[in-house]
Symmetry: C2
Subunit: 360 residues, 2 copies
């Protein structure tokens, strides 16, 4: 057997160079005479690793000095709840923009914790577009506006950062972080589950503006209080050390590729190749408005549903893995995160052409 081209939506493919390094040093990391998993997070070796990972992420995204970078646990879903716990009073408005299943979930988890308003929703289009900013119904007293800049399931993506004036903008960037430049200063808070473009699952990276941390309520249990995590350098308790380590290797890898500008070129080329072929095929179809298409997640359908099983079986046999679409959408989905090489997308397109010719 050999490694396939892995189109999994998440946990997703990691750069092979990163995996090879992790494999080589799995039993003995640096001069530790132990695995990186077996050492104290409070020892000087791990602290150095942790600080370097943070610095590399700061470099990659040009994170301004007045933002903290946190390495947390719980998946983005936990933070769907923890964010209103920290930044909104129960009776305070919080504005959510619904562009797919993940923003819906974020709003739902916030409901017991604050007064959730739906400022805009593309549900009427079956999440095939991004609602125009001009049509958003924002509350100027809201604690924050929450957006999901890339929706993994529907494959829609904001290609511009919306202006929300004086109300802090929060973004769940799980499936777009590091795929292209990101103007951190336009957001008050960004967070991302690691398992798409950063590392393994079980790690969440958060970038949060200093002044916001003053809002964290003092009566919150410490472990849910972001200000406490920030004050302790994300070592309020034992962090996911393996996840932090791998994230650090991925940040180095992104730097070696030329940073997020180079990643954007790479990702744009992959997306253009795949959407271009789909649109011109007369066979496959992507339902998303062109201006809102995701660079990371490309859902597509075949002309007939009864071809799906055959497509999946044959694509997997050809080493093109995990193409099954989400049940909410059906058909196929190719997730083409940073770690997917252009050759992988080319191999997919070649397979799709051949499949279409054989099953016209």
């Amino acid at each position: 057997m050999s490694r396939g081209y892995n189109f999994s939506a998440g946990p997703a493919a990691l750069p092979e160079d990163v995996l090879r390094q992790a494999q080589a040093e799995l039993l003995e990391w640096g001069s530790a005479r132990a695995s990186v998993m077996e050492i104290s997070h409070r020892g000087k070796d791990f602290i150095a690793l942790a600080e370097q990972a943070e610095q590399d992420l700061r470099d990659l995204l040009a994170v301004p000095a007045n933002y903290k970078v946190l390495f947390l646990q719980g998946g983005a879903t936990q933070h769907f709840a923890q964010i209103p716990m920290n930044f909104a009073r129960r009776d305070q408005a919080v504005d959510y923009v619904l562009t797919g299943d993940w923003s819906e979930k974020a709003a739902k988890e916030a409901k017991p914790l604050a007064r959730v308003r739906i400022a805009a929703s593309a549900a009427d289009s079956n999440y095939a577009r991004i609602p125009a900013r001009a049509a958003w119904d924002l509350d100027p007293t809201a604690a924050y506006v929450h957006v999901t800049p890339n929706e993994t399931i529907r494959g829609v993506e904001f290609h511009e950062v919306p202006d929300t004036g004086a109300v802090p903008l929060f973004g769940d960037v799980s499936s777009t972080i590091l795929s292209r430049p990101l103007d951190v200063s336009k957001y008050a808070l960004l967070y991302a589950g690691a398992q798409k473009n950063i590392g393994p699952s079980g790690l969440v990276v958060m970038i949060v503006r200093d002044d916001l941390l003053e809002r964290c309520p003092r009566d919150l249990p410490k472990i849910f209080n972001y200000a406490e995590h920030a004050a302790q350098g994300s070592m309020l308790n034992t962090p996911n050390t393996w996840g932090w380590y791998l994230a650090g290797l991925v940040f180095k890898w992104v730097k070696a590729q030329g940073g997020v500008v180079a990643m954007a070129e790479h990702n744009r080329a992959k997306a253009q190749l795949l959407y271009g072929y789909i649109d011109g095929s007369g066979y496959y179809r992507n339902p998303v408005e062109k201006s809102a298409r995701s660079w990371m997640n490309v859902p597509f359908t075949l002309p007939r549903e009864d071809l799906d099983a055959k497509f999946l079986e044959e694509s997997e046999a050809a080493g093109l893995l995990a193409l099954k679409g989400h049940r909410a959408v059906g058909g196929m989905r190719a997730s083409i995160y940073n770690a997917m090489p252009l050759e992988g997308v080319q191999a997919l397109v070649d397979f799709m052409k051949d499949f279409a010719a054989r099953n016209g």
Copy 2:
């Protein structure tokens, strides 16, 4: 360089056989043609892994059928808060037995969430003993009684399960789980951070009696609700898949060693060797009452504090790693979890003898 004997309190040493297997299959796990970190937690391959890990743990601890086994995130510390959120009303008494720093922290995190009572405390002995059960001041209306059967920092351990009558007993078994047989049926809830005897950090294993889950409040955000996690097979959101995988390998390894009965013999022998030497040395000292000494964490002091730095430098040079004691106790601490072989403890004792002879 080569791997040392690693006495880290946690994240702690893993069985070398487990690390070698993880290393061998890091890039391609089973027939996945991808790393186990790169596949969907909802795919059949990972589901099979997850179910097997749960079954192996059930086998090892003879977990009764009316208990759920959960694989969660956040470290034990998060569950210090989440447990009262799920199982106590804000005005309801919850009884905590303080036997060291970790039970103190558990009680402290619960304070904003329930009416915390200290049913017993060994603080007056500087946590050198376990308070006698007869002297506990329990509230029969309490939502639960919380104990920490092994305290990592002070090195004290319950060698019997206390009877709390009709009030459910909860135990944080982070640093003792799988080290010896454990009568799950005497507890209503057990939980453990993985990073001592189970796997890497970032994973928490919880064993909870079915009927207790009916208490979980419906107005809790789903992600904090244990009943929701149980209903979803711990896949309410993306779990720590790497942690779950490694835990599964460790469970297999414990089975191959002969299970928890064999581990107990192994761990008793290691503890006897080390405490026996310390007590007879006339040089080193362990402050804990003999009946309350931990099999897993052995703190000891040298005759003079100014020898500590020399001891640490020379022990590390001899391949005996991470012996520095916790700052709350000073001196040294040898954590001798399941993965520590008897030869490692023998090497430590040999070094200690030699050091004492040279620094009398």
